[in-house]
Every structure is written in structure tokens, then in C-alpha cells.
């Protein structure tokens, strides 16, 4: 198993929420202040801060406070290359096995050929 299995679990949890995915999407275009991040969402600032904490705990983002402004940025290295690689392989196989299922369903009534 991956050494940083717990980290991956935290990342999966962090990304399970649509608000947090939207925040990641925004941050992938560049760093933003907490109030900038909060703007598109119809929720209280404490709720936004809570989502950011979940993202920060997962290692997907980091934040820095300068004066009174906290700036949040994405951590592109949160996943090691090996983790990215294994995840890509896994995701690819999830799709492939889905297609095998589709194919088997489509050909369900075809006579089995002897090989």
C-alpha cells in the first residue's frame, strides 16, 4: 500500500464536497484571500473557514497570514509523483472495467463462440 495512505484518505474526504472542489478550482488559477474565496458562496465566513481548514489538513492547500489578510494557495506537490501515477493507473482501470461491463451487457444475448 501507499505509505501516505492516511494523507490520501484526507484528500479524498476533502474533495468529496462540491464547495471544496470549487475552491480548489478557483485556487488552481492562482492564490486568493479568504474573502475572495468566500465571495461566490452563499455561506457565512466561519463556514468558509471550516472548508478551508479541511483542505489545509488534507495538504491540498496552504495559507499564510500577512497583516490582516490570509492568502490561500494550492499545493501542487501534495501528491507525490508516485501517488499521482498509481491514482492515474487506478482511475484508468476503473474506467476500463466499467467499459468491460458495458460490453458484456451489450453482448449478453449473443451466442458464446467456442475458442
Amino acid at each position: 500500500m501507499l505509505n501516505q495512505h492516511t494523507d490520501l484518505d484526507l484528500m479524498f474526504q476533502a474533495l468529496a464536497d462540491p464547495t471544496r472542489r470549487a475552491m480548489i478550482d478557483r485556487l488552481s488559477r492562482g492564490p486568493a484571500s479568504v474573502s475572495e474565496l468566500a465571495k461566490p458562496f452563499d455561506m457565512s465566513l466561519p463556514a468558509v473557514v471550516q472548508h478551508l481548514q479541511a483542505l489545509e489538513n488534507s495538504g491540498l492547500v496552504s495559507s499564510q497570514k500577512v497583516g490582516r489578510v490570509r492568502t490561500v494557495q494550492i499545493q501542487p506537490d501534495a501528491l507525490s509523483l508516485a501517488e499521482q501515477w498509481i491514482n492515474d493507473r487506478r482511475t484508468m482501470w476503473v474506467k476500463r472495467l466499467d467499459r468491460v461491463g458495458d460490453l458484456l451487457a451489450e453482448t449478453e444475448n449473443e451466442p458464446e463462440t467456442r475458442t
Binding site: M1, L2, M11, F12, L15, A16, R21, I24, D25, S28, I74, P76, L79, S80, L81, A82, E83, Q84, W85, I86, N87, D88, R89, R90, T91, M92, W93, V94, R96, L97, R99, V100, G101, D102, L103, L104, A105, T107, E108, E112, T115
Partner: protein, 157 residues
């Protein structure tokens, strides 16, 4: 200079198909049938695929994202038990740099009128993939999309 190192990792996926083991085995072993599902990511377009399905036989798939690194997959079938088991080892290269050597096992278990397919991949990932740029280039956002899509599927199952 290339920093040498190996990271080991593995994953297991299970699917329960409404089909006989013979039909699932055919989907995995018949080149024409396999070509219908063994596609690379859609954005890559069609790969060059060859398949010699017998113990010691070789399967290759060469492709990659447009303008990106050439991904070359080369597998050797190590064990085949019809309708029950397929094991191959494979290596992956990005633009001629070998990035991983892996073992993939497919187990087929009859379960009433269904078949349980269990895929286990164990890999040795080499040297941080050269400088790693080829993979990194494809971007964190794609990765996050994948993770998100993966989660949706996991929770749907």
C-alpha cells in the same frame, strides 16, 4: 543527474459482472474484444496496440496525449488459466525513460450467474520518473478531476 529510487505501491479493484467466466475471459483475452475497452484516456486518441495472448506472448500499447510524452506499455503474459486467471508483467516508458515495472493479476471467480473479477496491480515506480515533468505537465487539475470523479463512482457503488 538522475536521482535513483523506487517507490512501491499497489491497488485492487473488484467488479461483479452479470456474465459467465468464459465471457469475461474472452473480453480480457480476445484481441478484437479487448480493443473495444482497453483504450487509453479519450484525449489521447487511438493507441497502437498489439497482442499475442499466450504464456510468454507480448502485448504492447503505444500512445499519449497530443504533443505530450509517448507512453509505451509492454507486457509479457506470465500465466494463463482459461476462464480463471491471467497474470502479466509490464513496464511503462515515457519518451524512452522507463518509469515503472508492474505485475497485474486478473482473477475470475464464478458467482451464480455472475462473475467476480479481481484486478490487483503491484508496481515499482522508478527514480521519481526521470525529472517527472512529463507527468507533472498534465496538471494537478486533471488529477483532481480524476480524484473527484473517482470519489463519485466510489460513493455510487
Amino acid at each position: 543527474m538522475t536521482e535513483r529510487g523506487i517507490t512501491h505501491a499497489s491497488f485492487t479493484l473488484e467488479r461483479r459482472y452479470k456474465a459467465t467466466p468464459a465471457r469475461v475471459f474472452k473480453a480480457l483475452s480476445d484481441p478484437a474484444t479487448k480493443a473495444k475497452w482497453f483504450n487509453p484516456p479519450e484525449a489521447w486518441g487511438k493507441d497502437e496496440h498489439t497482442m499475442d495472448f499466450r504464456i510468454g506472448g507480448i502485448e504492447t500499447s503505444v500512445g499519449g496525449p497530443p504533443g505530450g510524452a509517448v507512453h509505451a506499455f509492454k507486457a509479457i503474459y506470465q500465466d494463463i488459466v482459461p476462464n480463471q486467471r491471467i497474470i502479466y508483467t509490464y513496464d511503462m516508458a515515457l519518451d524512452d525513460v522507463r518509469i515503472s515495472v508492474s505485475l497485474a493479476s486478473f482473477e475470475l471467480i464464478a458467482d451464480g450467474d455472475h462473475t467476480l473479477l479481481k484486478l490487483t496491480e503491484m508496481g515499482a515506480y522508478l527514480d521519481g520518473f526521470g525529472d517527472g515533468n512529463a507527468i507533472r505537465k498534465e496538471g494537478t487539475s486533471i488529477l483532481l478531476d480524476n480524484l473527484g470523479a473517482h470519489l463519485v463512482r466510489e460513493s455510487a457503488n
